[in-house]
Subunit: 337 residues, 2 copies
Amino acid sequence: MVTLAEVAQHAGVSASTVSYVLSGKRSISASTRQRVEQSIRELGYHPNAGARALAGKRSNIIALMIPLRTDMYVPVMMEIAIAVATTARTHGYDVLLLTGEEGPDAVRRVTGSGLADAMILMDVELEDERLPLLRETDQPCVLIGLPADTTGLTCVDLDWTATGALCVEHLAQLGHRDVAVIGEAPAVYERHTGFAERTLDGLRSGARERGLRLLHRPCEGGYDAMALTLARIFDERPGTTGFVVQNESAVEPLLALLRQQGRAVPEDVSVVAICPDQVAVQASVRLTSVAIPAQEMGRRAVEHLVAKLGGRGSDEVVLLAPGLTVRTSSGPAPAAS
Amino acid sequence: MVTLAEVAQHAGVSASTVSYVLSGKRSISASTRQRVEQSIRELGYHPNAGARALAGKRSNIIALMIPLRTDMYVPVMMEIAIAVATTARTHGYDVLLLTGEEGPDAVRRVTGSGLADAMILMDVELEDERLPLLRETDQPCVLIGLPADTTGLTCVDLDWTATGALCVEHLAQLGHRDVAVIGEAPAVYERHTGFAERTLDGLRSGARERGLRLLHRPCEGGYDAMALTLARIFDERPGTTGFVVQNESAVEPLLALLRQQGRAVPEDVSVVAICPDQVAVQASVRLTSVAIPAQEMGRRAVEHLVAKLGGRGSDEVVLLAPGLTVRTSSGPAPAAS
DNA sequence: AGGGGCTGTCGAAGCGCTTCGACAGTCAAC
DNA sequence: GTTGACTGTCGAAGCGCTTCGACAGCCCCT
């Protein structure tokens, strides 16, 4: 293992000079810099991470806490995680992967040990048990998701309320009067995940404004659960012509069932999905959808964190504006029969 | 921030004693141990990770390199990643998330800087450009996936060849003579990902043994791509009655298309999928499938690594035996018309 | 010519921990 | 009662880096 001291000796300078070349915190003459850089390359030097963390009081690591549960749509989480990792690297940070398993203890461990300089938390619940700890610690921290009380916290999230409203508005403009919402699995609501409840709020207030009738049904993913849910919906509201789907793993089953029942999309029934674009274009019908900007969320979270670590940036709630893309799964409501 | 020295002072012992209490590397009297542990709790002490890494020459971090690409089935990768993270924690390790973006440089950086004690590589290609580096370094390392040459490497993977053979065997036993394989996206084959090619080998040699006719078609995910592929298959081999699907995102489209064409599953056509169990049971037909044991792979990889780090364990290739679960998507071949 | 301000480099201290060797004290064996 | 092995604790060195203050040399201004 090559050390700073060896590089210094090789270049004929002192260790501190090499350090300053590396950090750029003091001016170094061009000739010295070149000599040092040359030595670094020749010796294949990599600064020791532990020593750096110890002396510099920063590890250049960002901790990312992802949920263990798999009742949320996994590809979205993965996309966020990958966006976090790649964005972090462009700022010189590495990413430590924590699962929800340890819960609040993980927060304590990481902040206490100086393992990470900052944290990103995913899958935040409205009353998340980790929040008190985060408020106490002075470690920079960004939530992906929006808890009930955001005082003293920085959050990045899609504006789910607006998303809900947007879906309803689109259907209302097309003349639909009876709209059903295929929601996330019941467990998601039970643990008060912000995004699900907020979407529902947006849907409801949008429906109220527009005078729509809204029926909300949580739904596990999969074909069987969807079949049951759909039967109940048409049973209760036979005139339903619009669907908003928030559970990605219910999308394809819904389309299949509608087809099977002889209900044409979009002629008889319109479907608006809340899902990543990839899902929307790969479905059996190209779906009108509000995109979940997973990458953007990951990227923004890291950039906020880096700003905070650099002394810039403050507590702030960033809500990304939703965008609805019209594809071929939505159209004018059929004339009332 | 609480330091070892503070704990020592609080407990009325020397720093080294506290260290030995923590590591258990020397015997400590019960009374002293209790006093120290008490102080640790009272002060809320967490050992500093950087100092530990520097002095102890090990960071207690395992690096996990996941691919950037999303042309593989993402949930499987996620499941592996989560299994790695949770298993690592039970052995006292944290997990550093590296994306494929940096490529071989990431290997150099991590081994050079002592950031991680060991590595796990996912998405290994047959002739992976990272392998030479891994063979050089003395850092323990486990691949999830199987390169062409495994000398000096430890690998964990599903036995894909056996998986392919198992699928064919099942269909052969049911009397199918013409079998089509819906493979991964062409890009997966082009970059010579081991699992795709090995599965194909298994399918082919199985078919040869059993006297089946096999038609292999790579296929992008999604409905449109599947529609095209399916049309070509029936065009070329109208008598096809068996399908093996390796691309998870083609499963549901395939089922929908078959239904649409009036081909009943399993009466007219049998489908065997290679996918996680969750996908198999959530599909619109409960799929006969060979499971991808993502969790097991992640767990085994970490356990091997931990064994290596502990001086036990050697280079070894672990191939997990595939298991086929018969559900309702496969049945006897229809009598020849 | 002399002082003042820069610029570029160095030496040394110290970050918090592990670990080695030293050394009291205890106990069993002779 | 001495020896020797063993147990439990301590002090000090050192891991590889960052950073602070010091300072030599230089140029420019008066």
